[in-house]
């Protein structure tokens, strides 16, 4: 019992999570059925129970440190369940099953390995494993092509996107590698005027790793994941070295690469055209239909939304995974959308704070990199939904329908909690 009281703030927040999840579910169900039946509460209550179980698990294990991330991830997942209920109720049970698996993965990541710093000792293992997983969709039997992108592997009826796991493996690898690279850089720093001259032999493996990943993504035709990996690479490099120059070079490469991709790949050009002229006669009924419908949904949202269950998000093709943000914004308005963005920003902010206080450079880089993944993913998908950037294939973390995304993001949360726990143990804070 004493152990349970150590995580009181987390427990308090989880009650609010329960309130949010149950209220949303009731609203959606009642609007749909024009009535209310208690059976409709089963799914949200089940998820809330899972969240509480995880809380008890953390308390019983004596995990110290952060108490904000579990409730944040839980409330986002709860909103996700409400939205799946609203947009694709036939997939609701599936999504709930994935939350069970995600909870299991979370618990496993809390328990294994015993010492989180051990992760840094196997960096090449992670790198190779990551590349292998990344290439697995290209295999003949298990690889599946969906909507023109070959990024899935399937075992029986279960489909999984390996790049979701790979992004975490890559961050772990980069964090470990850059920790060492940092020291080398500190000793051999030479500059050519304003331009830093990097110790090239040490830079080569990491650039090679990243280049292989990019090539694989190009083969698999996943625009979004490519963008994500590039972003992660640049961010980790900046975090470790602080050299704005490397970042500028990276961004320049991005622009050049993007231009080449636009010329060379039809599907990239198509996405950019849809982004630039979605309402033109040729585009709006064809390739741009999805985005145009998404924008109509946003327009219908106004300040307070059309009301849960009252909008018309079903007009957007594949809304439950690609356009959940627009669907949510239509029904809860700008007010609700802003709250959702604030939740993500809070999550990232908390992750960065954990990174700042971490005891070793590896843990700092790890926590900051993981937080950055969530930030970048959210910004890219919301940006695409709101026509700020072209659409990619990434989904909104925790909220959008998708098993692999949910499982890996909960593992990400577990890793951040472990870093926070390690910090607390070192510094002697609760």
């Amino acid at each position: 019992m004493i152990a349970l009281t150590r995580r009181r703030p987390e427990l308090g927040l989880l009650f609010w999570v329960a309130a949010v999840g149950i209220t949303g579910s009731v609203a959606v169900a009642a609007a749909e059925a024009a009535g209310f039946r208690p059976q409709q509460l089963v799914i949200p209550v089940t998820f809330v129970a899972v969240a509480f179980v995880l809380h008890v698990f953390l308390a019983a294990r004596g995990v110290r440190g952060d108490q904000l991330l579990l409730p944040l991830a839980a409330v986002l997942t709860a909103i996700g369940l409400v939205l799946v209920q609203r947009l694709a109720s036939n997939l609701l049970l599936q999504q709930l099953s994935w939350t069970f698996i995600a909870a299991g993965a979370f618990a496993a990541t809390i328990l294994i390995p015993r010492d989180i710093t051990a992760l840094s000792r196997f960096k090449w293992t992670w790198a190779i494993l990551g590349l292998l997983l990344l290439m697995s969709p290209l295999l003949p039997v298990v690889g599946r092509e969906v909507n023109g992108a070959r990024i899935w592997i399937g075992l029986g009826s279960v489909n999984f996107e390996p790049w979701e796991v790979v992004k975490i493996l890559l961050v772990v690898f980069f964090a470990a590698y850059l920790e060492e690279f940092r020291e080398v850089l500190a000793q051999t720093q030479r500059r050519f005027g304003p331009i830093p001259v990097p110790p090239v032999p040490y830079l080569v493996p990491i650039v090679a790793m990243w280049a292989i990943a990019m090539v694989v993504m190009v083969f698999e035709k996943d625009l979004g994941a490519t963008l994500l990996f590039l972003g992660i690479f640049l961010a980790m490099l900046y975090l470790a070295t602080g050299e704005a120059f490397y970042t500028l070079i990276g961004l320049a490469l991005l622009v050049v690469g993007g231009f080449v991709a636009y010329q060379a790949f039809g599907h990239v050009a198509a996405r950019v055209d849809v982004w630039l002229h979605p309402f033109s006669e040729e585009v709006r009924f064809d390739a741009g239909y999805q985005l145009v419908q998404g924008l109509f949904a946003l327009g219908n949202g106004g300040l307070f939304g059309a009301g849960l269950g009252n909008g018309m998000p079903e007009r957007i093709p594949v809304v439950w995974s690609d356009f959940v943000f627009d669907a949510f914004a239509e029904e809860v308005g700008f007010a609700g959308a802003l709250a959702l963005l604030a939740l993500y920003l809070l999550f990232v902010y908390r992750g960065m704070l954990i990174a700042l206080r971490a005891p070793t450079p590896f843990l700092q880089l790890l926590a900051a990199g993981l937080s950055f993944i969530v930030a970048l993913q959210t910004l890219v998908i919301v940006g695409g939904n709101a026509r700020l950037i072209p659409l990619t294939g990434i989904t909104l973390p925790f909220v959008a329908y998708g098993g692999s995304s949910l499982v890996t993001n909960w593992m990400l949360v577990a890793l951040l909690i472990r870093v926070s726990d390690a910090t607390a143990r070192v510094r002697g804070t609760p």
């Binding site: 308090g12 609010w16 949010v20 209220t23 904000l68 849960l308 939740l343 704070l353």
Partner: protein, 148 residues
């Protein structure tokens, strides 16, 4: 009846938005309080530490040399250690000096000749206080507060 249902439904929708914002506010509150607690906890533990070499066998380490302590500092004959000792009596990986819960601990990694704290050979691990003396072979070091 239709109207009451419609009103109730709208009530639930508004409640959802309100609860979302209330959660946000509470979460900020929790964050703020935990940050304050962390800062307070930090200042309570003066964790910065330094190993100052008092006696040495040869030139590595030199007498007077100071080693900044990290969360985990390795000590031994192997050159890869944070504190390398060129004494035959020291094992390759002899001991590790760790910060645990705001206190400094010395842990012997199963060395051949053991580690002494203030003259007494330690069992396995022992908590240190600033001013304590560590001895490995013919090398003696003192743990002090500070940043080196």
């Amino acid at each position: 009846m239709e109207i009451t249902f419609a009103v109730l439904l709208w009530g639930v929708r508004i409640a959802f938005l309100l609860l979302l914002y209330l959660f946000l506010l509470r979460a900020f509150g929790v964050l703020h309080r935990s940050l304050v607690a962390e800062r307070a906890g930090d200042s309570a533990t003066r964790a910065l530490g330094v190993l100052v070499v008092e006696r040495s066998a040869g030139h590595a380490p030199r007498v007077g040399e100071r080693f900044s302590l990290r969360a985990s500092t390795s000590i031994g004959r192997d050159a890869g250690n944070d504190v390398p000792l060129s004494d035959e009596a020291a094992s390759a990986r002899h001991a590790v000096l760790e910060l645990r819960d705001g206190d400094w601990w010395i842990e012997d990694l199963g060395s051949t000749n053991g580690t002494l704290v203030n003259g007494t050979r330690i069992e396995r691990a022992e908590r240190l206080r600033f001013g304590d003396e560590l001895a490995i072979g013919r090398i003696a070091m003192r743990i002090e507060k500070g940043a080196g």
